[in-house]
Symmetry: C2
Subunit: 352 residues, 2 copies
């Protein structure tokens, strides 16, 4: 704190991201990165743009990338917005649709950036409780919210909401923007992107940091009706006209063209998740059903925080949240099968 | 506009950046990019990070880059903030220091993003008039503003404010944050960065997009007392914890190590600017004195807008601002000597 800080700044509580330790090498199962590298096609596309032309500003509209994403999803370029990671995209969307509206609604347990954004942008919010099994019951959503935000699958639980229920939400709340954060949709869920053509109140946000192995590149996107995408762009152009650099545009564009390695990687992650769940259950773990590239787990007797610390000591990083209802759970990202075997070996050692 | 847009969104007037046409090749003198490419050392550093590790999130603190910048300016890492272009850095600083304060003050003619930010972040502002020769007279700055923002050299005029006058400002307004935007300082001006050690109310913002030939990489920075830098970080961590990608960190870090090509390029740009001024004067142009990598020029008889359009037709892009006091001027970025010769040739043709 400082006399130069604004009142607004004094009252902010920033998001705390998962550890990115630079000191030693860990089996890193704490930030939901992909264990598989970007494909050679992606790396080559980036290398091809490491050139003299970096002296020039990037295309502020990132048109080639937006076209590539539109092609992938059978949409038009006007339905696609891209930004510097899905966090930035979410931030712009919150400002575009939820500022000076009724309180927006999201689950009591979800991506912890949502309340941080609301405070940052002075947006009212209300939460609705997940069920005892951490599922979303759409009947518990408050009447007439200023907007609805759902991570699907949800974070950090991994629970998945069926597309039929999302469609019901879009119909019931047709006067307000429903934002579906699909950061983890590619690991077994069904995307609601096709609903965009029918529902002008739907925005879907995705990221290239998980299923597309490009966390280091910082690319996220929003898909929706042209009027919603125009709104998000308007906020962007009031903040940072060029958020995506030339190399990120090149790598992300190549990623959407490379369906083969995209599919292979996510299938391997799904297989490793199912193996991990089957192996953990007989060890006394409760595992919340997951369609994400992570699982939320709780041991019958051993406290989650102690497990987290002992695993870290042994070189395995997982995520522990000191938050209501989930403070005796660990969120474990799904790595390679070999990394998951290391995790199991360490857990067996800890649990004796 | 759309029924889904917030009132806030309806009232935004986004910044309009200079054209980045993708259709044909232009002599591009409209967005103040460097005409010189990044050095091989910079390109090699980026290539070295185009690897499997792009699957991982970047270091959210960008520590190696911040250390490199601190070394360059003989500061500590804690005095350095980095972000996705200086536009983003400015946006965070505005929120950190100027929200819910008295109206901030900046010149009536300056970087047009400043009022856009104030509207975006709901910050009151007041302007003070530049003199008839487009200079800043620090005695015209209002009493007790909530902050002072000065681009030095100023944009789009190129006028430069002496460091002694900035020091006087810092002393007089010691209770408020003075933000000096040094986007164009490396073309003949003297940076006020050394004043940081004496004045805890000084923030200096810089960019790698101009003198460091890295507009395509999107890196900007803020320098200041630790408490001010902590404040900016706090806003960043409420918005986007990882704004700088791995490749941008690598390229920017190498840039601060490569003093030789940095100095060679800016000296060439200064030489081309002086040649251009000397050549334009006898052609009937008034040129505002400039310490930037651009000049603001006005012809004795030919209207600026007509000149802009005819130059564009001939394949030379310059910037025209349809704004009070400067709507009969053109802003011309300084390119290579050969590009400036092309400009002169075209102007001679137009003026007969």
């Amino acid at each position: 704190m400082s006399k130069y800080w604004s009142e607004f700044l004094n009252q902010l509580s920033p998001y705390v991201a998962g550890e990115q330790p630079q000191d030693r090498s860990y089996v890193k199962l704490n930030t939901n990165e992909s264990p598989y590298p970007p494909s050679d096609a992606v790396l080559d596309a980036i290398r091809g743009r490491v050139s003299d032309r970096l002296r020039l500003y990037p295309d502020p509209e990132a048109t080639t990338l937006r076209q590539g994403i539109a092609d992938f999803y059978a949409l038009k370029t006007e339905n696609v917005f891209v930004g510097n990671g899905s966090d930035e995209v979410l931030g712009f969307a919150f400002q575009a649709f939820y500022k000076d509206k009724q309180a927006v609604a999201f689950p009591d347990i979800t991506y912890s950036f949502y309340p941080v954004y609301c405070r940052l942008f002075d947006i009212d919010f209300q939460t609705f409780a997940l069920t005892d099994t951490f599922e979303i019951d759409i009947n518990t959503i408050p009447e007439n919210p200023g907007g609805i935000i759902i991570a699907n699958p949800n974070a950090p639980t991994g629970c998945y909401l069926d597309i039929k229920q999302i469609e019901a939400l879009l119909q019931k709340h047709s006067n307000t923007v429903v934002l579906i954060d699909e950061a983890y949709i590619d690991f077994g869920g069904i995307s609601c992107v096709p609903l965009i053509k029918t529902y002008p109140n739907l925005v879907v946000v995705q990221t290239l940091s998980k299923s597309r192995s490009l966390a280091g590149l910082r690319v996220g996107l929003a898909l929706g009706d042209k009027q919603l995408i125009d709104g998000i762009s308007r906020v962007k152009n009031s903040f940072n006209a060029y958020p995506l650099d030339t190399l990120a545009i090149a790598g992300a564009t190549a990623s959407f063209r490379d369906k083969v390695s995209f599919d292979r990687n996510r299938e391997q992650i799904i297989a490793a998740r199912e193996w991990t769940i089957k192996t953990l259950e007989p060890m006394g773990f409760h595992i919340v059903p997951s369609k994400a590239n992570f699982i939320m787990i709780q041991h019958r007797t051993k406290l989650a925080k102690a497990l987290y610390l002992e695993l870290k000591e042994m070189g395995v990083l997982v995520r522990y949240f000191d938050a209501p209802r989930i403070d005796n759970y660990l969120r474990v990202s799904i790595g390679t099968l070999s990394e998951m075997q290391t995790l199991i070996k360490c857990l067996k050692k800890i649990l004796g």
